[in-house]
C-alpha cells in the first residue's frame, strides 16, 4: 500500500487541479488584458478617424501602424530564434507578442476599411494576414485554455511525453503483476482479485498505455473515453478486497495521468501545427507587405 502510494504520489500531486484562489487573479488579469486590447483598438480607430477628418488618407496611418506592429512581431521572432532572450524574457515577450497581435487585428480591420479586398494582390495580402492571425489567435487560445484549466503545466515538455508515457506503462505493468504477499501468507485459497485486475489490464489497460490514444476526443476536449475506462476500474473495485482496491486506485491514477499526457500531446501537436502555419505564412506575408508598401508609394498621388 505504502509502495503504491509512494509510487503514485508524484502523479497525484501533478494532476491536482489548481485551487480556486489562484484562478481568480488569473481571470482578473485576462479580463484586464482584454479590456486593454478593446480600449487600445477603439483608440486606434478613433485616431484613424481623426486623421482622416484632417484631410489625410487614413490608409497611410493605419497602414504604417500595421507595418510597425508587424515589424515588432518579426523582431520577437528573430530574437527567439537567435536565442537572444532569456527564458523569463521570452515568456514575457510572448505575452507582448500576443497582446500586440490582438491590436494588429484592429489595425488591419481599419486598414481594410472593414471590407473584403477586390484584387488578387490584396486578396493574397488579406489571406496571408488572416492565416497568420487565425493561427496565432488559435495557438494563443489553446495555450491559454490549457493553462487556465490546469490540465497541462508548462513543465510538460512535448518531447518528453513519449518517455513519460512509457514510464507510466512500466509502472502499470509492475503494479498489475505484483502479487499480494499478505494473501500468500494466510495459506487460504487465493481470491481471484488479481486475476480480475490482470484481465482488466489485458483487455483495456495494456492497449491504452501502449501509445497515444483518443486523439479525436482530446481534440474536442471530450473526457468520455477516460470516464469509460475509469468507470470500468471503479466497477471492479466494488468486488475486491481492500488491498486490491488500493491497487485499482493506483491504476486509476495512472490511467488519468496517461490520459493527461495524451491530451497534452494532442494539444501541443495542434499548437505546433498552428505554428507551422503561423511562421511560414508570416514570411510570405512580409514579402507581400514589402511589395505592397513599395507599390503604394510608387502610385502615391503626391498628396501625403
Amino acid at each position: 500500500m505504502s509502495d503504491v502510494g509512494a509510487a503514485m504520489g508524484k502523479v497525484v500531486a501533478r494532476s491536482a487541479a489548481p485551487p480556486m484562489r489562484a484562478r481568480r487573479p488569473m481571470l482578473g488579469r485576462y479580463t484586464g488584458q482584454a479590456f486593454a486590447i478593446v480600449t487600445l483598438s477603439a483608440g486606434l480607430f478613433g485616431l484613424v478617424w481623426l486623421y482622416g477628418s484632417a484631410l489625410r488618407d487614413p490608409r497611410y496611418l493605419d497602414g504604417w501602424i500595421l507595418a510597425g506592429g508587424m515589424i515588432l512581431q518579426l523582431g520577437f521572432h528573430i530574437a527567439v530564434k537567435s536565442g537572444g532572450l532569456s527564458p523569463k524574457s521570452a515568456v514575457r515577450w510572448r505575452k507582448v507578442h500576443v497582446l500586440l497581435g490582438y491590436l494588429l487585428i484592429a489595425a488591419f480591420a481599419s486598414h481594410c476599411d472593414l471590407s473584403l479586398p477586390e484584387t488578387a494582390l490584396e486578396w493574397m495580402l488579406w489571406t496571408g494576414f488572416v492565416l497568420v492571425t487565425l493561427s496565432g489567435v488559435l495557438g494563443a487560445y489553446l495555450a491559454w485554455s490549457v493553462k487556465v484549466r490546469g490540465i497541462v503545466d508548462e513543465r510538460t515538455a512535448f518531447e518528453r511525453i513519449p518517455e513519460q508515457r512509457a514510464e507510466l506503462a512500466r509502472k502499470l505493468q509492475t503494479l498489475v503483476t505484483r502479487a499480494d504477499p499478505a494473501s500468500a501468507a494466510l495459506g487460504l485459497p487465493v481470491p481471484p482479485h488479481d486475476a480480475w485486475i490482470m484481465d482488466l489490464y489485458t483487455t483495456h489497460l495494456r492497449d491504452f498505455f501502449a501509445g497515444q490514444r483518443n486523439v479525436s476526443a482530446h481534440l474536442v476536449r471530450s473526457q468520455g473515453p477516460l470516464k469509460q475506462l475509469t468507470g470500468e476500474i471503479e466497477d471492479l473495485a466494488r468486488y475486491v478486497d481492500p488491498q486490491s482496491k488500493d491497487k485499482l486506485t493506483a491504476i486509476r491514477e495512472l490511467v488519468v495521468e496517461k490520459d493527461r499526457l495524451d491530451f497534452a500531446c494532442v494539444q501541443q501537436s495542434l499548437t505546433r501545427g498552428l505554428f507551422f502555419v503561423h511562421v511560414p505564412v508570416t514570411y510570405a506575408l512580409i514579402v507581400l507587405s514589402i511589395l505592397h508598401v513599395v507599390v503604394a508609394y510608387a502610385y502615391a498621388s503626391g498628396v501625403w
Partner: protein, 778 residues
C-alpha cells in the same frame, strides 16, 4: 527538428511567394495586377496607370519611377485634363487667394469667442492642417480612388470640411453661425423695385387701366421651371412689355428725340471758315453736333484718333477765335466725315466698321457689324448724301469744288437724269452717288429757299427694279410728280429759318443728344437734373414737377421754336460764295405729313435734319445691345474716349431705349463697364459657396408663400444703390434669410443638414471639355 522544418518551410514559402508574384507580374498584361482596387465606374475605362499617376513611366517596371520624388501637383493636374477648372483649382474651394483671404478675415471675426467642439479641438492639436493646405489642396485630398466601382468619390464628411475652416461647429442645428446677408452678395442685375411696383405702380395702373394685366402672385413673374436653382423672371414680353415696351420704342417719351442720332453732319462755323479760305468744299449749314458713333467711326484708325483728339476742345460752331491750325483741323474733320459718308455709300458698312478699334481690337464679325448698324439701308445714307453733300463724289475724286461750281452743278441737276443719257462724269467714279434714290419724305423749305432747293436737288427718279441693292430700272422721269404739300413744312422751315442759331433749348441738350437736331425741346435741362436720392423707378408717370416743366416747354416752343421735325434744316449749299443758304432740300414726291421720327414709330432708321437716327424697335434691340456690349469694356467711368461717349449716351438717364432703366450697369475693375443684360441663372451663380435650389422648397411655404422666407423691405433706398457701379454695394429689396427659417426642417431629426447639402466645394464647378477630334482630310 520540427523547428528546423518549420523554418525551412517558412523560407521556402517566402521564396515561392516572391517567385509567384514575380511570375504573375511577368505574365499579366500591363501593371493592373498591382492595382489596389477597382476604380469608380466613371473612371473604369481608364486603362493606363500613367494617365493619372504621372510619375509612372512606360513599361512594366515604369511604375518604379513613382518612388522618385516629383511634382506633387502632377497627378492632380492630370485630373484637370478631363475636369477643366480655373487656374485656382488647387486653392481651397478653387477660389482666388484674395477671396479666400477676404472670407477668412470675415469668418475669423465670427469665430472669435466661439467654443470648439471636442473632436475639432483634438483634430487641431493632433493633426494640424497647415501642412496639408499650405501647398495647395490637391484632388486626391478628398477624392480617393481605387475603392470600388460604386464608391462615392465625392463623399466628404462634415468633419473633413470643418478641419480647414476657421469657424468650427458641430452641426447646422447646433452652433452653425447665423446667416449674415444671405442670399444677397450682390445686387440683382435687373433693377426692379418690388416695393414701388406693389405699393404704387400696380394700384395706379389698376385704377387707370382696369383691363390691364397686373401680376397677382410672385409666380406671375417668377418661375423655376427652366432653372430649378433660380426663380428666374419670365420673359420681358410676358411680364414687362405691357407697361414698359413703349418706353423702349419711345412712344411714351415726353421730351427729347426718340431715336439715337447715329450719323450726322455737324454744324460748322462756315462764315469763319470761308473768311479763312479753308478748302472745305460744300457743306450745309447744319447745327447738329457730331454723334459719338461718328467719333468712334472716325477714330477707327490712328489718323482719325489724332484728329478727334485735336478737335476735342474746339467749338465747331464758333471758330472766330480759332487758330490756323485749328481751322485746318476742322477742315480735315469735315473731309474725314465726307470720306466716311462716301465710304459708307461706295462700300459696305462692314468695310468701315470692321476696322473699328474698340473692344479687343479683333476684327468684328459680319453679324456684329450688322447689329452695330442695325442693317442700316444704303439708301438712307445715299438719300442723306444727296441732300447734304450732293457733289460728294466729285469732291472725293477731284478735291473741293468751289461754291460757284457747286451752284452750277445744282443748276444742271434741275433736269432729272434720263435713263438713256450717259452718266455724268462723277457718276463714272461713283455709282453710289449717281444712283437715283427716292429720298425720305422731307419737308421743303419755303420761299427762295424752296426755289433754290428745287434747282439744286431734284428728286431722282424712283427705282422700280432693284437687284442686289443696285437699281436696274428707273421710273419714267417724265411721269407726273404730285406736288408736295408744303403747307405744313413751310411753317417749320420758316421757324427754322427765322430762329437763326440753335435755340437755347436745343443747346441745353447734351452734345450727343443734340446731334442732328435743329431745335428740339431738351430731354434734360440743368434744372431737371435730379438729385441722386430723388431717383425714381418711373418713366410712365412723370411727376407733377415734370408735367409742369413739360407744359412750360410746350408753350415756349409754340411761340419761338418747334422741333424741326421733317425739315431739311437748310441742308443745301449756297449758290454764292460757298456759304450755305436755305432751301436746299430735295424735292419730295409725296408729303405724308408725318415727321420721320413718328414715321419710325415701330423702330428703325430715319433721317431728320442733319442726322440719321435709329429708333429702338423693342426689347432686346440688337443695335443698342451690340453698341453697349462693344463699348462697355472700353468705357471706364470718367473716360472721355469715343467708346465711352457712346456708352454714356446709351446709358444716360434719358437714353433712347431706356436699357439701363432696368438693366444695371456694373463697373468692372480694369475692364470698363458692363450692362447686365442677363438675369441670374445657375451659371451666373458660379463662384458662390452656397447652393440653394428653390424647387424642393416651393411646397414647404406657409400661407405667406414666398414671403415665408423673403420679407419685403419697404422704404429702403433700393434704387439708390444702382446709381453707382459697385454691384456689391447695395440695399436689397428683401430682407436676408434667417437661419431659423431653414432650421424648421433641417435638423438632426428631420431633413439633411450636412455641409454639402447647402455648400459646394468647387465653387466654379468643373467642365468636361469636348475632346479634340481631328477630322481626316477628304
Amino acid at each position: 527538428m520540427l523547428k528546423l522544418r518549420r523554418d525551412t518551410a517558412a523560407q521556402l514559402l517566402a521564396l515561392v511567394t516572391l517567385l509567384g508574384v514575380a511570375m504573375a507580374f511577368y505574365f499579366s498584361a500591363g501593371t493592373r495586377f498591382l492595382m489596389p482596387g477597382p476604380m469608380t465606374s466613371a473612371h473604369g475605362g481608364i486603362e493606363a496607370c500613367s494617365a493619372c499617376h504621372t510619375k509612372s513611366g512606360t513599361g512594366k517596371l515604369g511604375w518604379v519611377h513613382g518612388l522618385v520624388a516629383g511634382d506633387p501637383r502632377a497627378d492632380s493636374k492630370a485630373c484637370l485634363t478631363c475636369h477643366k477648372m480655373p487656374d485656382t483649382a488647387f486653392n481651397a474651394h478653387g477660389a482666388s487667394a484674395d477671396r479666400l483671404q477676404e472670407s477668412t478675415i470675415r469668418l475669423t471675426k465670427i469665430a472669435a469667442g466661439r467654443a470648439l467642439p471636442p473632436s475639432a479641438r483634438a483634430q487641431s492639436v493632433a493633426f494640424p492642417m497647415q501642412d496639408v493646405v499650405s501647398g495647395g489642396l490637391f484632388c486626391a485630398t478628398c477624392h480617393q480612388e481605387h475603392q470600388g466601382g460604386k464608391f462615392d468619390l465625392k463623399r466628404i464628411s462634415d468633419e473633413q470640411c470643418r478641419s480647414c475652416h476657421v469657424v468650427k461647429f458641430d452641426s447646422f442645428d447646433g452652433s452653425h453661425p447665423n446667416f449674415d446677408t444671405y442670399p444677397f452678395k450682390t445686387r440683382t442685375p435687373i433693377i426692379y423695385d418690388h416695393a414701388g411696383h406693389f405699393g404704387k405702380h400696380y394700384p395706379e395702373i389698376a385704377k387707370k387701366e382696369p383691363d390691364k394685366r397686373i401680376p397677382e402672385t410672385c409666380a406671375s413673374c417668377h418661375d423655376s421651371r427652366a432653372d430649378k436653382r433660380v426663380m428666374s423672371v419670365m420673359p420681358f414680353e410676358q411680364v414687362c412689355a405691357g407697361c414698359h415696351l413703349d418706353q423702349i420704342t419711345g412712344k411714351t417719351r415726353a421730351s427729347g428725340p426718340k431715336g439715337v442720332a447715329f450719323l450726322s453732319l455737324p454744324g460748322l462755323d462756315l462764315e469763319t471758315l470761308a473768311k479763312k479760305k479753308a478748302p472745305l468744299g460744300e457743306w450745309p449749314d447744319s447745327d447738329a453736333a457730331l454723334t459719338p458713333f461718328m467719333k468712334v467711326m472716325i477714330g477707327r484708325n490712328d489718323k482719325g484718333r489724332a484728329l478727334m483728339a485735336s478737335v476735342a476742345n474746339v467749338n465747331l460752331q464758333d471758330l472766330s477765335t480759332a487758330s490756323d491750325d485749328q481751322i485746318k483741323t476742322v477742315t480735315d474733320l469735315a473731309w474725314e466725315i465726307k470720306r466716311l459718308v462716301h465710304a459708307l455709300i461706295s462700300g459696305k458698312a462692314s468695310d468701315v466698321l470692321a476696322d473699328l478699334n474698340i473692344a479687343t481690337g479683333a476684327k468684328l464679325s459680319p453679324s456684329l457689324v450688322a447689329d452695330l448698324t442695325a442693317s442700316l439701308p444704303r439708301d438712307v445714307i445715299l438719300g442723306a448724301q444727296q441732300e447734304w453733300l450732293p457733289n460728294l463724289a466729285q469732291e472725293i475724286t477731284g478735291g473741293p469744288i468751289s461754291p460757284a461750281a457747286a451752284a452750277a452743278k445744282a443748276q444742271s441737276n434741275q433736269s432729272p437724269p434720263v435713263a438713256d443719257e450717259p452718266p455724268p462724269p462723277e457718276a463714272q467714279q461713283s455709282d453710289a452717288v449717281s444712283e437715283p434714290v427716292a429720298t425720305d419724305t422731307e419737308a421743303e423749305p419755303e420761299g427762295d429757299g424752296k426755289v433754290a432747293a428745287n434747282k439744286v436737288k431734284l428728286d431722282p427718279p424712283t427705282c422700280v427694279l432693284r437687284v442686289l441693292g443696285a437699281c436696274v430700272m428707273f421710273k419714267d422721269p417724265n411721269a407726273t410728280v404730285p406736288p408736295p404739300d408744303s403747307a405744313n413744312d413751310t411753317a417749320g422751315a420758316a421757324d427754322n429759318t427765322e430762329s437763326g442759331p440753335v435755340p437755347s433749348t436745343a443747346r441745353t441738350l447734351s452734345e450727343p443728344m443734340r446731334a442732328g437736331l435743329g431745335d428740339v425741346v431738351p430731354a434734360a435741362s440743368p434744372e431737371r437734373t435730379e438729385k441722386v436720392s430723388d431717383k425714381k423707378d418711373d418713366l410712365l408717370f412723370p411727376t407733377d414737377e415734370e408735367r409742369r416743366e413739360l407744359t412750360e416747354r410746350r408753350k415756349a416752343a409754340g411761340s419761338t421754336a418747334r422741333p424741326a421735325l421733317g425739315t431739311a434744316g437748310g441742308g443745301a449749299v449756297s449758290a454764292t460764295e460757298g456759304s450755305p443758304v436755305d432751301g436746299g432740300a430735295p424735292m419730295i414726291a409725296i408729303d405724308s405729313g408725318v415727321d420721320p421720327e413718328s414715321w419710325a414709330e415701330y423702330g428703325g432708321w430715319y433721317r431728320q435734319d442733319f442726322a440719321i437716327s435709329y429708333r429702338p424697335i423693342g426689347h432686346k434691340d440688337k443695335f443698342l445691345y451690340s453698341w453697349l456690349f462693344l463699348t462697355g469694356p472700353q468705357a471706364p467711368k470718367g473716360s472721355t474716349s469715343p467708346a465711352a461717349a457712346v456708352f454714356d449716351v446709351l446709358t444716360s438717364k434719358d437714353a433712347q431705349g431706356a436699357c439701363t432703366k432696368c438693366h444695371s450697369v456694373d463697373d468692372i475693375a480694369g475692364k470698363g463697364r458692363a450692362v447686365n443684360f442677363s438675369q441670374p441663372s445657375a451659371q451666373s451663380k458660379k463662384g458662390r459657396f452656397t447652393n440653394f435650389i428653390h424647387e424642393p422648397h416651393l411646397g414647404m411655404t406657409d400661407e405667406r408663400g414666398c414671403l415665408t422666407c423673403h420679407s419685403l423691405e419697404k422704404g429702403q433706398p433700393y434704387l439708390k444703390s444702382y446709381e453707382q457701379g459697385d454691384a456689391r454695394t447695395f440695399v436689397p429689396a428683401f430682407g436676408a434669410i434667417k437661419k431659423d427659417v431653414c432650421q424648421t426642417c433641417h435638423t438632426s431629426s428631420k431633413a439633411r443638414q450636412d455641409c454639402l447639402l447647402c455648400h459646394k466645394y468647387h465653387i466654379d464647378g468643373a467642365v468636361t471639355p469636348v475632346m479634340s477630334t481631328k477630322l481626316r482630310a477628304p
